[in-house]
Symmetry: none
DNA sequence: TCCAGTCCATTGTTCATTATT
DNA sequence: AAATAATGAACAATGGACTGG
């Protein structure tokens, strides 16, 4: 009885299998009709692509047409070709000179998305769909899967009844094979399954989630499948060779998430570093094998991503956060751009913008040098950040789709917030003493800034504001806040990118505003009056008025200018964090170099975008703009406070000391009195 | 009375604090003047350092000069650059290959004295001193530490009288806060101090030992500070996270004296072991954060030392004792190299001694390997055909001499066989799962063909035929064989040369024959009846005849047409491989483009030649022709089989579906049932 | 338990070749 | 033909996981 059922299932499966295969074949024949038109297109294509042809392209000749078949399953090839051309033009247009530097088949689209495997979409259905149109009678095609299928070959299919039968048989099959298992002819029980093979079934294919025919098989199968799912072949010992998942070459190990050969490893890293995106000149179907892997970068990179190489595993320079997002965007854009040819680069958006920043060279290493020094003739292209300093960083321009952009930004936000969180939580507990020796030295600002541990331990931040501040509280908080501030700046890629002088100028200029911001927000969070410090204390202008004469009225104004409006806004934590970062870069800093100014602007707009995203996320797009405006107003208030307090401080003694040529000596005395 | 004193002190401290901060800010402005000169230097530097620039160098621009600042604080930048260059050259010279291998930004100066913190010298004074020069009038800088400071801001400072007052007040302060405590505005007693905060003060800062203003405070303060000095925050329980004192990353524990992450721990140990000294390329002010810690080894190591990592805590010699000799030798070599660039290893002095004995390598540990790897080693020299890619190999033309021709063909044969061998051995082990997401998509033929990993893992081929095939076996084998087939085709230059349509047509048309060929030969090799699959199973027509009714008689004919003659031929493995390739191209494929047909013919004759060569090689020229003929006959048998099975498959349902205009929908269902 | 060292998979770096401009 | 960029094999470094006293 059971055997009978098995037989039926087999036959059925077999027949379907064969039928489908036949279909495929038919499919190929049906395409013939379309071939002719293609030939015509071919010549044209050749003409147009001639100038950018790669000598490597051996077979190429007529391959160009397939191009963007992936775009839409239902689109015509003709139209596709046209689309492609247009897209190509735009891109070349957009990217100006940079593009020319690369081999033609590389087109910069955008960044590569770490998580998204675009290739899947682009490559799938369309091409096959073409063949559906006509169905010539080439029924004579000789096709048949060998031996086993032959058994059931002559059986008429049972049509929809498959489901039922299949499901019964399903009990013997591994779960993950699901309905796919319907296509198999033999029902013989397997007396023996070598361990090395037993795991295969589980990993084979995952069944699609929705299909009317999917009636099949949930139950696991074959008792022989007792091995671990891992492909632990019997001889784990014997140095089993590994093969590159991309090109099949021998692999030395796992790289960026998959087994990869040296070449693919390097290729992937370079591509990610330089944030490249290529476009296939041959239709996106270039086989990637060891022999041909260098023929088409687009398909090679695509394959890298498809098999699971993780762009985020590439440690890029300065900031991982940024590059990540870009990568994502790149991938997505790629998806859309799908089309053609040259490589595309990262973000630069403005079309027909002048030759962007000439990329600087990073002499010594192969590294992607991220910063351009524009120092030279920098084109600047005017649009601020666009300058693209860091090459890949957050982009500026008109990215492909809003969604895409939004998505990658969201990642950046999360990344940034995560980093900030860690910094705010950082402590030096158990760190006992720092060295004591050094304190004989003068603590210059740079030294203090770069060596915050010389200033004070990183205590855990306690912004509860449970007690009035004492002298010590304020002193300690000042130190602690400065250390925190230094930690934050140091972690910011934008800051890192600057040169030393610019960094110092920025750090000095923006501490006061940031400190205001911190204490005000801590107070708001603690629901305390006045301002809260990092050590659990608070200061309120109205406490002990006789002891704290507020001659300049600053403490009162600080409430009006900052604290009260801040309370009304009810910012959430993320907003506070990002607003703080935004404020750091939001005002002009005197004496920055031109590069520094550029970085400053880039950072400003970057964090503004992030802030915007977070605002809109919590309150909706509409109120976001309003909210941003209000937040920016706060910055204005802070700036006022800073000026007000700053102007009352021009103490002659200080100046005298500073102006003294022998300042290091003199200053030493006073530096000791500084909070540091 | 007391309050009054406190107030005074507060105000005083506060004003000083602010003043100093202002000073710092001024300082930053004063530096502006110097910025310009720097810019100039920048361009020059770029030129000179261009070739060895690291892409990581983000801010870089003018940073390269500082280089050996550690050497001498008083040296000029210009000269430093030159020194650096020279040194670099020398090193490269001396060490030969070794030197070049290291990142350029590491320059060995000398060894690190366990007790001496060179970083202090190099980093401290110099940079800050620069700013002392000019003092521009940018007095409008808006700066002010927030809330608390604002209270005392407008107060004139009391100058040197601070000390006296401070000392009085000191009684209330913790000892270790010493004179630093002078700067704090509030005198309110703290009604409540959370335990977690109470320890902060004690650990804060150590006062310098000698300073004229240091008149302060030895007495402990605030009654609230009764906790233990250890930073034992209230909840010692709750797994308080630790943070690396160097980079801020999460630390696992204390290492070499400070909390350190794994990375900094290892970095420090390695640096000490190898006795390295690096030189910062960027001026010695690189921020060391988790994100950037690998950017500059010099600054990282410096920070390690600064925060208190103890080189002596690194156990060196002890265990290394045995290898000390070698170490010395190595050290000596280093010494000579002394000069430049890369890091130097150990210390031994004797200059310019010849490159001593390459020490043996202590392969397995990270231990300070003192040995230089010498050499490059043998070149393999083996003529191994291995060298050239299949692609370029066989030439079509009229080669010069017969010998040459023969020779080159032999190479081609070896090449091809090698490639095939690798393909047959290729596995996806360790590849765990491929992505699962995509499987919701329709798997078109192209997609399946170009992305075989979507079909199934590449399991190791097991053609032993040790067990009867089950349904699963056959299904899985079908997939595996298809993947194998795709891998093979993709690697063939002839295939690669075709355009997309031709490729698909060929791939579809020739799979069935090739599958027959594979399974038949596997069976022959395994000496099994019927046909063998790739997973260790076999199928035999006469097994369980009642279960496998062979209506079309194919299974019987398959034996007559293919299996039996194949067994008689006793082909060797190479012959089988090449015959398989030959078969792929040996029959006409419908609907090929004219180019495709040409390639097909070329490939056919090519592989025929190769096959001939192999046949004659093993059996002599004479029988070769006969053998070829027999083999070709097999092809004929396969073709028959393919037709026979194929013709019985014209199932109406399949066609209907295919012809439907809404094919994508309909087809989806059936494609799911395909083996892919 | 802590904190040394050890292992080693995975990453980055260098640079002779090779390809592209 | 020279200049420039990409490739990939060989090598060094990194850092997570682990071992042992
Ligand atoms: Zn590869
Ligand atoms: Zn391609
Ligand atoms: Zn660390
Ligand atoms: Zn540095």
């Amino acid at each position: 009885m059971f055997e009978a059922i098995v037989l039926l299932v087999q036959i059925l499966i077999n027949s379907i299998l064969i039928r489908v295969f036949v279909y495929y074949c038919r499919d190929s024949f049906s395409k013939k009709a379309e071939t002719a038109p293609h030939e015509n297109a071919k010549t044209e294509t050749n003409r147009s692509t001639k100038t950018r042809r790669s000598s490597r392209s051996i077979r190429q000749v007529s391959t160009a047409q397939q191009v963007s078949t992936a775009v839409s399953a239902s689109t015509q090839q003709q139209s596709q070709d046209m689309d492609f051309e247009v897209a190509f033009r735009d891109r070349a247009h957009t990217f100006g000179d940079i593009a020319i530097k690369y081999p033609k088949h590389e087109i910069p689209l955008t960044h590569i998305s770490p998580t998204l495997h675009m290739s899947d979409k682009s490559q799938a259905g369309p091409s096959s769909s073409i063949s559906s149109a006509a169905f010539p009678g080439s029924s004579t095609t000789p096709i048949l899967p060998p031996p086993a299928p032959a058994l059931g070959a002559s059986f008429p299919s049972i049509g929809s009844s498959v489901g039922g039968i299949g499901s019964q048989h399903a009990m013997n099959m591994p779960q993950n094979l699901s309905h796919w298992h319907q296509a198999g002819p033999s029902s013989l029980p397997s007396p023996f399954v070598p361990p090395s093979l037993s795991n295969l079934p589980p990993v084979a294919l995952h069944s699609p989630g929705s299909s009317s025919i999917r009636p099949v098989v949930p139950a696991p199968q074959t008792p022989t499948l007792t091995q671990s799912p891992q492909g632990s072949s019997a001889s784990s010992k014997q140095k089993q060779r590994l093969y590159c998942a991309v090109c099949g070459d021998t692999a030395l190990g796992r790289h960026y998430g998959v087994n990869a050969c040296n070449g693919c490893k390097g290729f992937f890293r370079r591509s990610i570093w330089k944030n490249r995106t290529y476009v296939c000149r041959f239709g996106g179907h270039c086989p990637v094998s060891k022999e041909h892997r260098n023929t088409c970068r687009a398909c090679r990179l695509e394959t890298c991503l498809r098999v699971g190489m993780n762009p985020r595993a590439v440690q890029s320079e300065a900031d991982l956060a940024q590059s990540q997002q870009e990568q994502q965007m790149a991938a997505q854009m790629k998806r859309e751009a799908e089309e053609r040819d040259e490589y595309i680069f990262s973000q630069s958006p403005s079309p027909n913008s002048p030759p962007p920043p000439s990329v600087d060279q990073s002499a010594q290493t192969d590294r992607p040098d991220l910063h351009l020094h524009l120092g030279t003739g920098s084109f600047e292209s005017g649009d601020g950040y666009g300058a693209m300093s860091v090459d890949s960083v957050y982009m500026s321009g008109n990215p492909p789709s809003l969604d895409t952009k939004h998505f990658s930004k969201e990642r950046t936000v999360q990344n940034t917030l995560m980093t900030m969180k860690q910094i705010f939580e950082r402590t030096d507990e158990r760190g006992e003493e720092m060295r004591t020796e050094m304190h004989d030295e003068v603590l210059s600002f740079e030294r203090a800034f770069y060596n915050p541990e010389l200033i004070g331990k990183r205590s855990r931040l306690d912004t509860s504001g449970v007690r009035p501040a004492s002298i010590n509280d304020i002193l300690l908080d000042f130190r602690r806040a400065f250390v925190l501030y230094a930690d934050i700046l140091i972690s910011l890629p934008e800051f890192y990118r600057m040169n030393h002088d610019d960094r110092m100028a920025l750090a000095k200029a923006r501490f006061a505003p940031y400190y205001w911001w911190l204490t005000a927000n801590w107070a708001v969070r603690a629901n305390a009056q006045g301002f809260c410090y990092s050590n659990g204390s608070y200061f309120s202008a109205d406490m002990k008025p006789q002891v704290f004469p507020d001659l300049s009225g600053i403490s009162e104004k600080s409430l009006v200018l900052l604290k009260e409006p801040l309370e009304e806004l009810q910012l959430d934590e993320d907003e506070v964090t990002l607003a703080g970062l935004f404020f750091i870069f939001a005002d002009e800093v005197p004496n920055l170099s031109s590069d520094g100014c550029r970085y400053l602007e880039e950072a400003r707009s970057h964090y503004q975008e992030l802030l915007q995203l977070v605002c809109s996320r919590s309150r909706g797009e509409l109120s976001a703009a309003n909210r941003i405006a209000n937040i920016t107003t706060l910055l204005s208030g802070i700036t006022n406070l800073t000026y007000m307090s700053g102007e009352s401080l021009e103490l002659p003694e200080v100046f005298r000391l500073v102006e003294s040529p022998d300042w290091t000596q003199e200053l030493r005395l006073h530096q000791y009195q500084s909070p540091f």
